[in-house]
């Protein structure tokens, strides 16, 4: 099984990377870009068969290690 975890800064938290990307894109002539935010994706390969269990375990992984819940929020998607 595979899990895809997306982690991004919570709304309201300063995202200097995103800001710099947006500016640089518009300097390059991509003027349609009004804002950018940068986050992480973590792809996990998992043993086991049950998507429900996997989702619960990966959520636990996010809380314990993958996301910094003080400033980040995350979402989990299980693919098989």
């Amino acid at each position: 099984m595979k899990a895809i975890v997306q982690i991004g800064l919570k709304p309201g938290v300063l995202d200097p990377q995103g800001r710099a990307i947006a500016r640089s894109l518009s300097d390059l002539g991509f003027e349609e870009v009004t804002a950018a935010r940068q986050g992480k994706v973590i792809e996990l390969d998992l043993t086991g068969e049950d998507a429900g269990t996997a989702e619960q375990r990966v959520t636990e992984m996010c809380e314990k290690l993958l996301a910094n819940t003080v400033i980040e929020s995350y979402s989990v998607k299980i693919e098989s």
Partner: protein, 734 residues
């Protein structure tokens, strides 16, 4: 609308104000404040901004001296280092934020202290940090260490200011409250120092830097409140640092400062726009009117309350010379920073805020500062402890003892830390953590002189005896600067303590401050800036008293300095100072004896001065190849550090006598130095010392690759080094 909310006792309490404090506000205003006004009073009267528990004691410090250009009271202290050059420096804590979010907490701590320094017109040239973590085995320690170090490095490295030294301790007393104290040293021209007092009427007020977001709203009051187990849940948004913007801000400010456009300038630190505008107005005796609609905002729908209390980083406030507005705009636009004129100075003495067509705050400024609470909190002195006699502490196996000591948490190598810091950027680092030396040496750009910088405190001494501990931390920085051949000039401090409302904690505070002050006066070594961090406790457990001291000295001529690393094959090892074998509160007693008992070593300040002045004189006369003071771990640890740094073994010849071995090798008597000198220098050095009434003796010879002694010590330097280097990586990889 903020005005509509009725201020209840609960709201007052949530703002950290006591009913008595609230009554003063009512009396001064002659009416109830609105929410914005209450918020402003609450941050201005928080411990963090008002120093309400500490102010009267800090007033005792020696703060003046022939080289002091600006003492405490401005963003940072300023000292004269000749030739029209000035050094501007300060140390500050970021303890609570670093515990909650170690990377960002530590990073923004570094950013904040740099702004305090460049706001006064100095280009930052060096960073230091003083860190205290919980026990190495505590479940949180590893994560906190790696986050804090990465955060400090991440910020300083990116801005391009070298992090040249620091200190790191581990103790269970910090399990629930780590300490992250950062120090910044900057270089300015003495006649181009910028201050924060706003002047004139109708002068434009400029906002520069990052946009304001809802970051750390109420952080300043949070930093003054004790933790409980839930605070990790309740915490407000953590501030995120943006070192890239900080770097641009430094360059832009330096460029604008080279013109005559700035009347006053102040960084937005804790309590952001509120404290910066109030302090500027109060110092200059003027009023300020701001239009909050003009504040660059990161988010939509921000309220006046949020804007005034936001702690968004990388922002500055300045009063600009009328007519120079365009110049300022051009420079900040060049550096792609947000900039706006958000208000003017007035002659009303009031802080007036306009937002969306309403006046949302209109209060007199002077009560915010003048009427800030100033408490004389009850304090009880710490009980004196008995001495521990070295004779009662056995030392049978010197080899085993040295191995245990050199691989112990407080003495093992910090390479794992400082290899993550860029120590060389700016091309003027002469010596740094890399040699393990007592003080870092940073050259004044383009000149043949340098500043020496160190941070020190020995919390276990301060805990055992706040007064002696207070003397000791100041004396140790003075000694460390002396060891590299510098003239110690002045200090900054960061006073980290528990809850001041407890008389025994307040007793620690008062004891340390008075001890520090005694040392400052005896050594002509004034305090020019500092910071207080109280309420460092969790569930009633306070940290050990930790008054971190940052010392700065001057090496007038880079032809004459010493480091830890210069001993040569055949050099003699000379011990300056008296050894009584003081083992109480020592690392040996703790690590080998398993006890934290005993009175700490007494500090004889006259002796410190006598011995230190002599050591400096010898270094200046180029008699010394390497120098080190005896501090944590005592004589044998200092000698081993010299040997490791120089890469040469050492034969130690303990003079005959009946002092207990534990005391001679590991006792922590103060005012002592070890010097590596040429064989031919030994006699002249010893006889001059004798003439001055200074105890000095030859106790060994640098040679070969082993550490040996007439008491059975015999270890390969490489084996000792392996133990010394292994501890930290093992901790972090466990």
């Amino acid at each position: 609308m903020a005005k509509a909310i009725e201020i209840t006792p609960e709201i007052v309490a949530e703002h950290g104000l006591t009913p008595e404090e609230y009554q003063i506000i009512l009396d001064r205003l002659g009416r109830a404040p609105n929410m914005n006004e209450l918020g402003i009073f609450s941050v201005m009267w928080s411990e963090h901004c008002s120093y309400k528990s500490s102010r009267r004691h800090l007033g005792k410090f020696l703060t003046k001296g022939p080289r002091v250009i600006q003492g405490p009271g401005e963003n940072a202290g300023v000292i004269d280092i000749d030739d029209g050059d000035a050094i501007i420096f300060k140390m500050e804590s970021h303890n609570h934020p670093s515990y909650i979010e170690p990377y960002q907490g530590a990073a923004t701590g570094v950013g904040g202290i740099m702004r305090d320094v460049f706001t006064m017109g100095a280009r930052p040239i060096a960073l230091m940090n003083a860190l205290r973590f919980g026990e190495p085995t505590h479940s949180k320690t590893k994560t906190l260490v790696s986050g804090v170090i990465a955060g400090i490095g991440g910020y300083g490295n990116c801005v391009g200011v070298p992090t040249v030294g620091g200190e790191t301790n581990f103790h269970k007393g910090y399990n629930g409250n780590i300490l992250v104290n950062a120090m910044c040293v900057g270089l300015a021209r003495a006649d181009k120092v910028f201050y924060s007092a706003a002047k004139g009427v109708g002068n434009p007020i400029f906002y520069v830097g990052s946009k304001t977001g809802r970051d750390g709203i109420h952080g300043a009051t949070m930093a003054s409140a004790e933790f409980d187990d839930d605070s990790e849940e309740k915490r407000p948004t953590v501030q995120v640092g943006d070192p890239f913007t900080e770097k641009l801000l430094i360059e832009a400010c330096m460029e604008l400062m080279a013109t005559d456009a700035i009347i006053a300038i102040q960084d937005m630190g804790a309590a952001g726009l509120t404290s910066s505008s109030v302090e500027m107005a109060d110092k200059g005796g003027v009023g300020i009117e701001l239009n909050l609609d003009d504040v660059p905002q990161r988010e939509e729908g921000m309220t006046a309350y949020e804007m005034m209390l936001s702690e968004s980083q990388e922002r500055m406030l300045m009063v600009i010379q009328p007519g120079k507005e365009q110049l300022a705009f051009d420079i900040f636009h060049k550096w792609e920073l947000d900039v706006a004129q958000i208000g003017v100075t007035t002659d009303t003495g009031r802080l007036v805020l306009n937002h969306k067509g309403d006046v949302v705050c209109d209060i007199p400024i002077s009560p915010l500062a003048d009427d800030a609470p100033n408490y004389d909190r009850p304090h009880v002195p710490t009980d004196k402890r008995d001495e521990v006699k070295a004779e009662t502490i056995a030392l049978t196996d010197l080899n085993a003892a040295l191995k245990t000591m050199i691989g112990s948490p407080d003495l093992a190598s910090r390479r794992w830390i400082w290899e993550q810091y860029d120590r060389h950027v700016m091309a003027d680092t002469v010596d740094s953590s890399q040699s393990g030396g007592d003080a870092a040496i940073v050259r004044i750009h383009g000149k043949n002189k340098a500043v020496a910088i160190t941070t020190d405190v020995t919390p276990r001494y301060c805990y055992a005896d706040p007064h002696e501990g207070g003397k000791q931390c100041v004396a140790e920085t003075w000694r460390n600067l002396t060891c590299v051949g510098a003239d110690p000039i002045a200090i900054t401090d960061c006073l980290n303590f528990g809850n001041p409302e407890r008389p025994e904690i307040m007793g620690q505070f008062v004891g340390c401050v008075e001890g520090m002050n005694e040392a400052c006066r005896a050594l002509d070594y004034p305090v020019v800036s500092g910071n207080v961090s109280l309420y460092n406790e969790t569930n009633g457990q306070a940290i050990p008293p930790t008054p971190a001291v940052g010392g700065v000295g001057l090496i007038p001529d880079l032809q004459h300095f010493a480091t830890l690393a210069g001993a040569k094959e055949g050099d003699a090892l000379i011990l300056i100072g008296e050894t009584t074998g003081w083992i109480g509160s020592s690392i040996y007693l703790r690590e080998v004896g398993g006890s934290e008992d005993g009175a700490p070593p007494p500090v004889d300040l006259a002796l410190e001065k006598l011995n230190g002045d002599y050591v400096r004189q010898l270094i200046r006369a180029r008699r010394v190849h390497a120098a080190h003071d005896c501090s944590d771990g005592g004589l044998l640890i200092a000698a081993t550090e010299m040997a490791m740094s120089s890469g040469i073994g050492l034969q130690i010849d303990r003079p005959a006598g009946n002092m207990a071995l534990s005391g001679w090798y590991f006792g922590e008597d103060q005012a002592r130095y070890l010097l590596a000198v040429d064989e031919n220098s030994v006699n002249p050095i010893l006889s001059t010392a004798d003439g001055k009434g200074i105890k000095a003796s030859r106790i060994g010879t640098f040679k070969g690759g082993r550490m040996t002694s007439n008491d059975g010590l015999d270890l390969a330097l490489s084996d000792i080094r392996a133990i010394y280097e292994a501890w930290f990586p093992a901790l972090m990889e466990s």
